[in-house]
């Protein structure tokens, strides 16, 4: 048995590692569910079935509809109002190429119509007139899966025929809400062609509202990241530094300017420093000097590395003194120690992501496998260091069951827990 405090620390570390892994797995499972669903046949019955609340909104300003289980009437009323508004807009800005609100989803033609007859007349007239003047694109029917609010236009193409379109134009009402409860089984018979991404994915088009919002979004992000570096920010930057100085002067807090977060960041940097120094040292030690000059340079480098290491150690002692002596406050929560990050922790916020182009699935798989392997190695190295720090001293002191402990420690530390060595007692032959 291991001593209590040692056990606690080691179990905590291992459990942290397990939790991190489990978190990744959870996120991956979520993505897998979504992707698998996309590659199956798309069934509107499935989409309109009452779904559990997906990942919640980040901003409090947009309440999700699932959280308000409004009664049927309220919903219909709301939909009616929106439909009327939309009808006005459509009539104003009618154009051939514009996307308009289409009828129902693939399968629930008349069913939904019956559910929402209240709005049908007004919409139908608007739709019918639009429909008449519209020239059909050669590809055929445009049917949409129309949601509750905002009505993004989306054209899914199925094996088109006029009849379905006619039916669609009469029964105008959007609304997955009412659809939820009211899709009769017979609706499934109306559209024998199911939509699969494989066959018809290439025909999808994104709705205009989304496109506009997305392009506006990327434009705004670009603007925001560029204003960060413009000259007009100087006045504000000066004002800010002055404010900070004044704050510092009027307060009686720690004068050194060190905070627990800053100390932690520096310790992280020193950790990176250590690994970089070690790598350089190994390069030097493994290289065979060809002549005097190289030998001399190797020597100088090693001595230089030694000096830098001493500086780092010294800095670490200073930080330690600061933590203890100046009461810098609690350690910042929620940081995972461990990996030495090549990017230095990245305090800069990340603007819009850049593109990563891959050419085949194998390439993507290789990329991901490598990425995970690097993360796994990082974690393993961290655990190795922690285990070494805790377990080697125990082996040094001989206690009961020392052999078993030694064997277990060897397997954990030297073989990653995968293999075990064998110990034989060397009895003198009698």
């Amino acid at each position: 048995m291991l001593p209590a405090d040692c056990s606690r620390r080691l179990v905590a570390e291992l459990r942290d590692a397990l939790d991190a892994c489990a978190e990744r797995q959870r996120q991956l499972e979520r993505s897998l569910r979504v992707s698998r669903r996309l590659l199956r046949t798309w069934e509107p019955a499935e989409t309109s079935a009452p779904q559990p609340t997906p990942a919640p909104e980040t901003s409090g300003e947009a309440p999700s509809p699932e959280s308000t289980p409004s009664p049927q009437d309220l919903k219909e009323l709301e939909l009616l109002t929106q439909a009327l508004e939309k009808a006005v807009r459509v009539r104003k800005g009618m154009s051939k190429t514009g996307e308009r609100h289409k009828a129902l989803s693939l399968k629930s033609g008349s069913a939904a119509a019956s559910a929402t007859t209240a709005s049908a007349p007004s919409r139908a007239s608007g739709q019918a007139s639009c429909r008449v003047s519209e020239t059909k694109p050669p590809r055929g029917i445009q049917q949409t899966v129309v949601p509750a609010r905002g009505l993004p236009e989306c054209r899914l193409l199925s094996v088109g025929d006029r009849t379905r379109m006619e039916r669609g134009s009469r029964a105008t009402k959007p609304g997955p809400g009412p659809r939820d409860q009211q899709i009769p089984p017979s609706a499934a018979l109306q559209a024998p062609e199911a939509f699969t991404l494989k066959e018809k994915g290439i025909l999808l088009r994104l709705p205009m509202a989304y496109r506009k919002a997305a392009s506006r979004n990327s434009r705004l992000w670009a603007q925001l990241s560029s204003t960060q570096t413009s000259d007009s920010m100087d006045a504000a930057a000066t004002a800010k530094t002055q404010f900070l100085q004044k704050m510092q002067m009027t307060s009686s807090g720690p004068g050194s300017g060190l905070s627990a977060a800053a100390v932690e960041a520096e310790v992280g940097l020193l950790r990176t420093a250590c690994s970089l120094l070690r790598r350089r040292m190994e390069e030097m030690l493994s290289a065979d000097p060809a002549d005097c000059m190289q030998e001399y340079r190797c020597l100088l480098t090693l001595e230089g590395l030694q000096a830098i290491t001493e500086q780092c150690l010294h800095r670490l002692q200073e930080l330690r003194a600061a933590v203890v002596g100046q009461q810098l406050g609690p350690w910042p929560v929620g940081r995972c120690p461990g990996a030495s990050l090549p990017c230095g922790g990245g305090t800069d916020p990340i603007w819009s992501p850049q593109l990563l182009l891959y050419s085949s699935t194998q390439e993507l798989q290789t990329l991901e496998a490598l990425r995970l392997r690097v993360a796994m190695l990082d974690q393993q190295i961290h655990l190795e260091k922690v285990l070494m720090a805790e377990l080697l001293p125990l082996v040094g002191t001989q206690g009961p069951h020392w052999l078993a402990l030694c064997r277990a420690v060897h397997s954990l530390l030297c073989e990653g827990g995968e293999r075990f060595l064998t110990v034989l007692r060397d009895e003198p032959a009698d």
Binding site: S7, R9, L28, L32, L38, L39, P54, A55, T58, E61, V145, V146, P152, C154, P176, G201, L206, P207, Y210, A213, A214, Q223, T241, G253, S259, A260, A261, E264, V267, L270, M281, R297, L299, L300, L302, E303, E310, R320, G325, Q327, W331, P342, C343, G346, Q354, L356, S359, T361, E363, L367, E368, R371, V374, I381, L383, E384, V386, M388, L403, H410
Partner: protein
């Protein structure tokens, strides 16, 4: 909407009974900054209602308690401060109204709860609020809990004023102090951008190139029963085995996800309006499949756009705010030096420190062990060499010095520029090689491979170290034969 937004200007030492405070005399020069920009008055007085600007200055309404109002500079300064603050509020999550800010300047207690909540949202680890992980708890934490988190987080970031730590935990007071804390956070770094980036709506299939985001956002804390008692080492072995298995499962799942992504990307080729992307992402396809989630995505996108615009507006007008904050700081009484707190050495931080210290010490030992004999050997060889050698020596020293300086810069600056950093949007493109923006997967694979090799070397070296150490310890006991497992 606040009726009037007034500021004190030249405070003539008029005691303010109703607020129970004595205002310090503040010289006008420090308060009114004659800046070059259009917000020239520094919004010493900004009127919320432009129509009222034409009115003569008069005794203010009851809420402002007889303070004399300065005539405002006509023009853009009118309402500049409330506008700026309103923009700031729109950008922040749970941003309070400009009226709250105004009240906070006077340290009104009714402004405190909103500001506590704001700071809590801003400071709490994003796992509770971020888009990727659901909140751990069903309802928001209590006021006391929020207050505690805010205090502890501000302290750990080095907030200089002690008055904050002394505020009562029921969240009923201290609005001015909270206002100062918010301004402090804003002044130190790109707080707004960071908040926006953390809750960014992800439209594409993203892959993080480096783990810094994953590490900074650890996910909801799992309630865990601590193993208090001593455990057997077999428990540790079991945990390690479990970890290995989890990784293998993870890698397999990830491979499947990649295959699915590849399919989705190729099936939706040519569907995207943006030519450089070419195909839809999972989020976009989901938007088309399921209207509900599409609506949600659209709403989130639009609300993010609102916040982004507010942030840009704020950027243009923030000078006004900072000048006002100077006045707020001016109204605070200076802090007397306080008795120091009881020191607390956080256990987790100490562990980290120990590890790094040990590593550095080991490294130092090794370097000394390598350098000293070489130096001795060198001196022995070179002892009697002539002066022409010294010039060469000097050149070598300089060269080595430069190399080592470059090495030091690599970690001091964080080296962020060198490595690809941050999430990337995956795009499948057959056209491959040259031209066009974006990273190529082949390059990234190369980088990752070299990093993998590095890490494997480090791990091997550590294991070798352990083996040697154990051999040394085991050698102390004679009469045993250690048969190592067959090598890899």
């Amino acid at each position: 909407m606040p009726a009037h937004w007034t500021e004190e200007t030249a405070l003539k030492g008029r005691g303010h009974r109703s607020l129970g405070r004595r205002w310090r005399r503040v010289s006008t020069r420090s308060v009114i900054g004659r800046g070059p920009s259009r917000a020239g008055t520094g919004a010493v007085i900004g009127r919320w209602d432009p129509a009222a600007a034409a009115r003569n200055p008069r005794k203010v309404s009851a809420s402002c308690m007889g303070r004399r109002r300065r005539r405002v500079d006509r023009g853009a300064a009118v309402g500049a401060l409330p506008e700026a603050i309103a923009a700031l509020s729109r950008t922040l999550p749970a941003g309070p109204s400009p009226e709250i800010f105004r009240r906070a300047k006077f340290d009104r207690p009714e402004a405190a709860p909103a500001l506590w909540q704001l700071l809590f949202r801003v400071l709490s680890p994003l796992s509770a609020n971020g888009a990727s992980a659901p909140p751990a708890q069903g309802e928001p934490p209590s006021t006391e809990a929020q207050v505690r988190v805010v205090k502890s987080e501000l302290r750990s970031q080095g907030y200089p004023r002690r008055a904050l730590a002394q505020l009562p935990e029921d969240g009923s007071q201290g609005s001015r102090e909270l206002l100062l804390a918010l301004a402090w956070l804003l002044a130190r770094g790109p707080l707004l951008e960071r908040l926006l980036a953390q809750t960014r709506v992800r439209l594409g299939d993203e892959i993080p190139l480096c783990e810094c985001e994953a590490l900074a956002r650890p996910g909801p804390p799992v309630p865990r029963v601590e193993a208090d008692g001593p455990v057997d080492i077999r428990h540790l072995q079991w945990l390690m085995g479990k970890l290995r298995f989890q990784w293998r499962k993870l890698i397999t799942s990830q491979q499947e996800q990649c295959a699915l992504l590849g399919k989705i990307h190729s099936y939706t080729r040519g569907c995207h309006s943006d030519r450089s992307l070419g195909h839809l992402s999972v989020a976009e396809t989901e938007l088309l499949r399921d209207a509900e989630s599409g609506q949600q995505l659209l709403r989130r996108l639009e609300s993010e756009n609102v916040r982004l615009e507010a942030a840009l507006h704020w950027r243009r007008q923030e000078l006004v705010f900072w000048r006002w904050m100077d006045t707020v700081l001016g109204t605070c009484p200076p802090e007397a030096s306080q008795p120091t707190f009881v020191p607390r050495i956080p256990e987790r931080g100490a562990g980290e420190w120990e590890l790094v210290a040990r590593e550095l010490q080991t490294l130092q030992e090794e370097l000394r062990g390598a350098a000293e004999p070489r130096r001795a050997a060198w001196e022995a060889r070179v002892g009697g060499w002539g002066p022409e050698w010294s010039a060469v020596q000097r050149a070598s020293r300089e060269a080595v010095g430069l190399e080592l300086a470059a090495l030091q810069r690599a970690w001091e600056r964080g080296g962020a520029a060198a490595q690809p950093h941050g999430p990337c949007r995956l795009v499948k493109s057959d056209a491959g090689a040259s031209g066009g923006p974006g990273l190529r997967a082949a390059q990234v694979i190369e980088v990752l491979r070299s990093r993998e090799a590095c890490l494997e070397a480090v791990l091997c070296q550590l294991q070798r170290q352990c083996r040697q150490e154990l051999a040394r310890l085991a050698g102390a006991l004679p009469g045993l034969i250690w048969i190592l497992p067959p090598g890899r």
